[in-house]
């Protein structure tokens, strides 16, 4: 079933979504603070300046740290997909950074918490969206 929601980029998020279309999973990195942040923001949350923010490629690997399942969403476009997994992935090189995943191919409520995952890509109306698959 095709993904129901298309993310609309804005000036702060455009670099991220453009990188996704090149199959690169990136996060913001402040060179002054040596600190990653995600989702992208207009300024570094630590130094509060925009000047040292760059987009940094990630390993594309992470760990599932927990999940829920949506049975009754407030988002109408997701209704025909219910129920679906809502897993959270912590980035391997910086576990404070987390990502969403519906874990394509994983049955509902059979989410292997603690497993290693790697990023994959799903397209929705021309935009690649990061998803994750279990590797171990």
């Amino acid at each position: 079933m095709p993904r129901p929601i298309v993310p609309v980029a804005d000036p702060t998020s455009k670099a991220f979504w453009d990188a996704c279309n090149e199959k690169r999973l990136t996060v913001q990195y402040c060179t002054a603070c040596d600190r990653r942040q995600f989702p992208p923001e207009a300024v570094c949350r630590n130094c509060r300046f925009p000047f040292h923010l760059t987009m940094q490629d990630t390993s594309g690997r992470g760990t599932i740290i927990g999940y829920s399942i949506t049975y009754d969403s407030r988002i109408v476009a997701w209704h025909e997909h219910q129920p679906f997994n809502n897993a959270i992935v912590a980035l391997e090189e910086d576990p404070v950074i987390n990502f969403h995943s519906n874990l394509p191919g994983v049955p509902v409520d059979e989410v292997p918490v603690g497993s290693t995952v790697e990023v994959i890509w799903e397209e929705v109306e021309g935009q690649l969206v990061p998803e994750w698959q279990v590797v171990s």
Partner: protein, 431 residues
């Protein structure tokens, strides 16, 4: 007329220190309108404006004051999510003759509207952009303490209109929603944090049952409760366990039911409180907080860190210790997050990971651990005002069948969320 409080009234930066007006401000009256499931969009006697006027009349009567005594009105206009009026959520709608010819009076109630409609001719201070009730009472207390007004009405309207709650149409999302809706993330967030909690401490969702069931029972003893007025039947453990799941870790019975109701409080100086009708409930402190997740979502680590700060800030500001809190009323808008507040404050010795065992013990009204003696939102509907009215009534000894058997001389209440909350500490004594 003075309007809009100066910036920076919140006590949200550590170290807060003991509140400079500790014990010098008091709650002295409360009033509640009827409680309905929703407004039908037609009956002008049941608008938020009409209900707020009624609640204000009752609050003044309760305090033993008249409109001539009132010199301030502090409110949250619409009561929904940081003061967002219902007009932004369910607009447009038909209007009527004045004073119901705009959203003001129908789906939101500004201080100015109320002041004009009730003829509050001595009002010199108004504010309509307050937050949830805890923050609002905190603001009113600071206003009185700072001398901007001395007898302040604090209305808190909460509305509901026809239709399902907060359904979001469309398939393109920008702004903050691009980081959540793209993966269908929503109330699953509550379930995710709860899942992390259960994995870390070895529990499961069934452990929530005794807490929610007790809250409903408590709420049935509170007259303004939606359930007391419209669904007075018993709610059992089996009922709870059979509730449909909204998300894994979040039952329909963990979600507060939207209702339409208004309440009003009277906040004044300790000096004036002595001459009013009810026993004063002194405000020892108000503190506020606002956090941000480290990344996309609120994790258990985030939640425990934030609630620890909220508790420590309140203890530092009020001068109270955990063992000195008699009445404890942590918010339960989603019942699955009440435990984080309970454990952070360490009420009755509850430590991290122990909340569910605590729920399984004696949390009855007449027992040793009457948590949320008013029943919370689970017991009354999405009004939030039980978190102020019940502690007041417990401390004043007029909670009726809800009156706890333990000592009731101090109270602490916190809401709305671990990510942002106000905390109020109250006492029967100004010292």
């Amino acid at each position: 007329m003075t309007t809009i409080k100066e910036n920076g009234w919140e006590r949200s930066r550590d170290p807060v220190g003991i509140w400079e007006h500790r014990g010098k401000v008091a709650l002295v009256g409360r009033g509640h309108s009827d409680t309905d499931r929703r407004w039908d969009g037609e009956d002008l006697s049941k608008t938020l404006g009409a209900y707020t006027m009624r609640a204000a009349e009752l609050a003044m009567e309760d305090a033993g004051i008249t409109i001539e005594d009132v010199d301030g009105v502090v409110t949250s206009a619409g009561g929904q999510g940081a003061g967002q009026p219902l007009s932004d959520v369910w607009a447009p709608r038909p209007y009527f003759d004045p004073p119901y010819d705009s959203e003001d009076g129908l789906t939101s109630v500004t201080a100015e509207w109320l002041t004009q409609q009730m003829g509050l001719k001595n009002v010199k201070y108004t504010h309509s952009q307050g937050g949830p009730i805890w923050n609002l009472i905190g603001l009113a207390a600071q206003v009185v303490g700072d001398g901007l007004a001395s007898v302040v009405l604090v209305p808190y309207p909460n509305g509901n209109l026809p239709g399902r709650y907060h359904q979001t149409p469309g398939n393109k999302v920008g702004g903050p929603a691009q980081w959540a809706s793209t993966w269908g993330w929503g109330l699953s967030g509550q379930g995710f944090t709860f899942d992390q909690y259960c994995r870390k401490y070895g529990s499961d969702h069934d452990a929530m049952a005794p807490f929610v069931v007790q809250e409903r029972a408590n709420g049935l003893l509170w007259e303004p409760s939606y359930y007391a007025q419209h669904e007075p039947g018993e709610f059992t453990i089996e009922d709870y366990l059979n509730g449909r799941m909204i998300a894994k870790g979040l039952s329909i019975f963990d979600c507060d039911r939207p209702v339409l109701a208004s309440a009003c409080y009277v906040v004044t100086t300790a000096e004036k409180a002595k001459d009013m009708k009810q026993k004063p409930v002194y405000i020892l402190d108000h503190t506020e907080s606002a956090f941000q997740p480290r990344s996309l979502v609120q994790t258990l680590d985030d939640t425990e860190e934030w609630t620890d700060v909220q508790a420590q800030r309140s203890y530092a500001g009020s001068g109270l210790k955990p063992e000195e809190i008699d009445i404890f009323a942590p918010y339960d808008g989603f019942a699955v997050f009440t435990q984080y507040f309970l454990e952070a404050f360490g009420w009755h010795g509850v430590k991290r990971g122990e909340a569910h065992d605590f729920y399984a013990g004696d949390i009855s009204l007449k027992g040793p651990n009457p948590l949320n003696s008013g029943g919370g939102n689970m017991g009354s509907g999405r009004m939030r005002t039980v978190f102020i009215t019940d502690p007041m009534e417990q401390l004043q000894g007029r909670a009726g069948d809800r009156q706890v058997s333990i000592k009731a001389e101090t109270a602490v209440t916190i809401g709305v969320l671990p990510v942002t909350a106000g905390v109020l500490a109250m006492s029967t004594s100004p010292d």
